[in-house]
């Protein structure tokens, strides 16, 4: 009887081989069609959620013939993708982290693109009275003192990094273990929903807040501080650096496409579109175009 089973095996094995070969062919077919004419853009959720990229990317694709694959993640992950060479170009808002990569020569061609600002929002009643504080650091101190509920993204994004910077500046430590401090580990939009439902304070970028404002029970309580600037840069991984870390990846980088994208983002006509974006929907632009300016001159 057993030899009959072996006969079955004899059929399975060629069958499985055929399947695997077909799959392999299918898969190779897929990547051959992928021309070199595409770039992977790693960016933050804010640029996608605000709708800015929906407006800009088709223009870029039309102009250059490149196809852009937008991967919207937190700035932390986007920078990590750039450092590994898993993305061709980055559009992020975490200047301090970016500078570390510049120093390591992991990224090159870094340019200031635009800024908007971070704002502290919370429930209309403002139970801790942060409205009346002198600056953002005082506001954070008041929240900690009153043990008022505070929602954090906790996802290593640019916004999360900025929040940590402010806690540090306010001289508050050990907040991450406190019961009034809740970390969602999610993007800005989802975290705003959590804060709104829980009547908590939260630090957010203005663009995402405005885009979602109608659905939120949150009002702006603190804004306009220089500390609260939210600055976006474009940059690309350094092919030389990637070669050193992972030579196989360096060959896959689309250096030309990345250069074209960066040029596009700081081009005056693109900058004009950025400056107009959001006016029709929110009554005010969501971003201020900054190409060619110095980071320190922003206010």
């Amino acid at each position: 009887m057993l030899y009959k089973n072996k006969k079955i095996l004899k059929i399975y094995i060629p069958l499985l081989t055929v399947i695997i070969l077909t799959l392999a062919l299918f898969v190779t077919g897929c990547f051959k069609k992928e021309a070199k004419k595409e770039i992977i853009l790693a960016t933050t959720t804010s640029t996608q959620d605000s709708g800015l990229l929906d407006k800009l990317i088709p223009l870029f694709e039309q102009k250059t013939g490149y196809k852009v694959k937008i991967i919207a993640v937190g700035s932390g992950q986007a920078l990590a993708m750039g450092e590994r060479g898993d993305a061709d170009v980055l559009l992020v808002h975490s200047p301090q982290e970016e500078e570390k990569l510049v120093e390591k020569k992991a990224v090159i061609n870094r340019h200031l693109v635009m800024h908007n600002d971070f704002i502290l929002v919370g429930p209309e009643e403002d139970p801790s009275g942060v409205r009346n504080t002198t600056d953002i650091f005082e506001a954070f101190k008041t929240i900690a003192k009153n043990k008022a509920l505070f929602v954090s993204r906790g996802d290593n994004s640019g916004t999360h990094k900025k929040e940590l910077e402010i806690w540090k500046g306010a001289g508050i430590t050990d907040f991450e273990k406190a019961s009034w401090y809740q970390s969602t580990g999610q993007g800005m939009g989802a975290s705003l929903d959590v804060a709104s439902e829980k009547k908590a304070y939260i630090l957010t970028d203005r663009a995402t807040y405005l885009a979602k404002k109608k659905k939120l029970d949150l009002v702006i309580l603190k804004h306009g501080d220089k500390t609260l600037l939210n600055i976006y840069h474009v940059m690309q991984p350094n092919p030389e650096y990637i070669k050193g870390v992972n030579p196989g990846v360096a060959k896959l980088l689309n250096v030309d496409g990345a250069e074209k994208f960066i040029k596009f983002m700081i081009d005056s006509s693109t900058q004009k579109i950025i400056g107009e974006f959001g006016k029709d929907m929110f009554g005010e632009p969501l971003f201020t175009p900054d190409a060619g300016k110095k980071e320190n001159d922003l206010n």
């Binding site: 095996l9 059929i11 897929c30 996608q48 959620d49 590994r84 939009g189 989802a190």
Partner: protein, 230 residues
Amino acid sequence: MNTILEGIKKGLMMLFSFNKEVYGIAFFSLKVSLTATLISVIVAFPIAMFLALKDFPGKKAVISFVNLGMSLPPTVVGLWVSLILWRSGPLGIFRLIYTPAALIIAQTVISTPIVLSLATAAFQQLDHKLKWQIMSLGATPLQLMYLMAKEARYSLMAAIIAGFGGAISEVGASMMVGGNIEGYTRVLTTAIVMETSKGNFETALALSIILMTLSYLATFWLTFIQQRRS
């Protein structure tokens, strides 16, 4: 409450106005998940039959391992598949990350253990004597496979339905390996997550209605085949 009503209204409108973008995403979701299910079935059925009908040492251990695969968390699959497919990963040179192929791979990895486990159980339920009976009538191994599969068709269909359900409803892995790229790798589940995070609850709800309708129709169709008298 208002959001829910608005969403349902908008969803129905989107369904019946044949919104091109929405149907594009829906059709693409269906294509990816059906392909993944088909591959799972092709891979899993022969193995399941082998596991169920052949005795070998350590068989119980192998089957318990297969069953364990059913509870493989999709997010874990997403993480591993993306680590492998990233440019910096071992299969990076194939440029598969953020392509429809990556979606199919991830969904196949998720649905194969489900199909395999349920199909193994289906074949094991068959009367063992049936095998000898078919073989004694002089059936070739291929005929044996066909007849056994036919005999177990109800349970096998259930396995396919479960595999398809696992694939189309999956979001974590699809987000990680596909990247939710508009017009390219955006599927219903990742679109729902994105619209939710944008605060467009109506659109998200509308897409969810379409997703449920689709999975229901697909399941209905598979059930129809399952219940058909042969």
